[in-house]
Symmetry: C2
Subunit: 482 residues, 2 copies
Amino acid sequence: MTPQQQNLVETVRERFGPKSVTTDADAIAPWLSDWRGRYHGASAALLTPGSTGEVSAIVALAAAAGVALVPQGGNTGMCGGATPPADGSALLLSTRRMNHIRRISAEENLAVAEAGVILADLHEAALEQGRRFPLTLGARGSATIGGLVSTNAGGTQVLRFGNMRSLVAGVEAVLPDGSVHNGLPVLKKDNRGYDLNQLLIGAEGTLGIVTAASLRLVPAVASRAVAWVGLETPQAALDLLRAMEARTNAIESFEIVPASALSLVLEQIPGTRAPLAAPQPWNALIEAVASGADDEAPGALLERLLGDALEAGMAVDAVVAASEAQAEGFWRIRDSISEAERTAGVTIAHDISVPIPDMPRFMVEGAAAVESRFPGTLVSPYGHLGDGNVHFHVRAPKGADEVHWYPAHAPEITRFVHDLVVASGGSISAEHGIGQLKRAELERLGPPVRVATLRAIKHALDPRGILNPGKLVTLAPEAPAP
Amino acid sequence: MTPQQQNLVETVRERFGPKSVTTDADAIAPWLSDWRGRYHGASAALLTPGSTGEVSAIVALAAAAGVALVPQGGNTGMCGGATPPADGSALLLSTRRMNHIRRISAEENLAVAEAGVILADLHEAALEQGRRFPLTLGARGSATIGGLVSTNAGGTQVLRFGNMRSLVAGVEAVLPDGSVHNGLPVLKKDNRGYDLNQLLIGAEGTLGIVTAASLRLVPAVASRAVAWVGLETPQAALDLLRAMEARTNAIESFEIVPASALSLVLEQIPGTRAPLAAPQPWNALIEAVASGADDEAPGALLERLLGDALEAGMAVDAVVAASEAQAEGFWRIRDSISEAERTAGVTIAHDISVPIPDMPRFMVEGAAAVESRFPGTLVSPYGHLGDGNVHFHVRAPKGADEVHWYPAHAPEITRFVHDLVVASGGSISAEHGIGQLKRAELERLGPPVRVATLRAIKHALDPRGILNPGKLVTLAPEAPAP
């Protein structure tokens, strides 16, 4: 611990009590690596402020002393954005104690939640009010509001209500000098210059520590229905989605799964069963919901719309789950693809997006380009077709291993995929952010005007690099990756 | 003209031809004052680039020479944001020649329009595709896309589809060094750091010159119905709106009009008629639309919902326009309030917002506070209740005049109103922006952390003050504190 860090820790303990900081290595250890075990950092102390005022005071002290801080929520990020630097130059600051829902109003369809509130707890609190917070993801039992706001998280339910950016109505954050931006009052119209709330959403804690957010709620789900559909091509899948959306706004998920991913799950994950009688080149998992008493029963709705689609030759086969257990079985297939890939071998994951109308072509042509350039690989693009966001996973040739093959080939394959994405006007990070993982690729593919602008903003608000150093964009330009 | 300006003008003429610049004083004159005649500027030349490339080259030249530029669209702003400084230190740059709709797609519900496209022309182009761009305002025959994006414009149709920020899916802009940010590709998910599109929306041309935007379209209106409703209180009006929204999503406008504003219009504007048999303390103008064949006819919908409201005692009286002419008559009342006020005497306008649930209370208590503090004034809050945004107009005492009374009293009254707004967590600019008009008030009421952050961002992207100097936030004489 540097003398400056030591000083900071002692002052915090004195002012805010023993709950506000620990230097116990065993207590700190679990938070020093990301959950996938890719990044390992060091921090001699873990700061755990209990209020926005305490965060503000700590950041002001840290700024004065030149001590860098790494904000952390549930530590469920995919890009190493919450792992501190390995050299111990920064201290971890966890928002976990700030876990109060300050206000929840069914009438206003609004919740004001502190940064440390766990997503599943917010789901529950909303349900008790007959409402729903319509964003969910696998890590909902650990992911926190602060992290979800700071990564502009997505998930499997973005289709209808959007990602975090669409659901955040206001942000409270401590800026790098310790001052507090209070953007919590929900104003449908506010034209007082640059939108600071929008700037903080997705900033990965590099411009401010999000301490609370005003969040939009929607009506609770009264019932849902889930269908599995067999299709010839990704274009047919997108056509089907558009046709359904033209007739109802009840479609909340539309996930695409290629035959290769389905068969891998059936092979690797015990207890999974093929939803359709015969395998189809592409599959779509579709969920429809009803909220109000006036809404059509979602099962009947899906039967009707998919019946028409089959008749029109848009889809090859389709089944609507006859029970909640069967619906969960369909979702289990979708949610097990990553696990099946890990069990079967080595996979290089890419969380990318392109404009939605281009996605079907990209899935087919991009996969062919990769497989032809890197013989033996198999591309398995799956996920959020309706968001223009698939997880473009490249499975390594048989026999490849994590230790030798991955470092020798993954960077080149990833650069190749990212080049394809950029050529289609897409994004190398659709929903996971940049963190440490994609910083070099962002620097390489920016484009330069974007990187220069991000860097200028970072410089303007955090000139000394107090908040989350080494994430998203560094203060100084880096040498390009080899 | 300074030698640097002279140089710039000559280089532009040489490189881009005679269409790209004029120094004819008569041609420039109409663009040197805002349309309300409050602000008067000077510019020795009017630059009129024909493409994004030309804007980029001009800004790069201007940056190199230290010549400031004032971007201008239709010159319909409410806050002097497009009027150049009076000392001639900046040159006007008009986007009027960049008036192409680059692409319009009914299937994708998308238009890509250049900055100089006039709103009414976009409306027409969308209609030809069976679609609609759902933002409109009085100046639609002159206002341009670039200005609408740069002021995050609102209007009377924000209730359902939101303001410009909600309708802009991508921004192309020339930054203060001449580089081009191309944010036009529409990505539903893109987490490559700070959202630069969002930063440019509502930035009033101080961070970049918007040269084009990707804009969302919605289904065209098949039919509409307009109702006039009499109510006891603003709270009853909000309750009615909430009750209607719980049963339909077809309500597109909900404008509140106090008895005093209605009677002023009836008195001052020839050809207007009272919609209801007896005057009511408050009135709501409600518009419902149908887009698809499956939608309920909006007239029948309003009859049904308002019938229930009358029965429940929520409303006192209501009439649904029996013809398009009658519907237009109702809208004419709403749209004539400003004109009636101007005809009748002196009015101080305030475009403010507070959180929606607080607006009914604010309208009553805020008005009472002003009238008690400034005897003889009459407060007439009207407009977009469902957006939490009313035009809080203070009518001067009888006999007051623009020349003496206004400068002697308006600033104090405005400060009083703004203090009330800030105390309610509201915004001193709901939809008109800051420009020159509200710069001092923004500086006074910021809050400080907001002003410091705006200034830091301005410094970061435009350190020499090349773009739209003197608007929104000024560069402080010294760099902002780290």
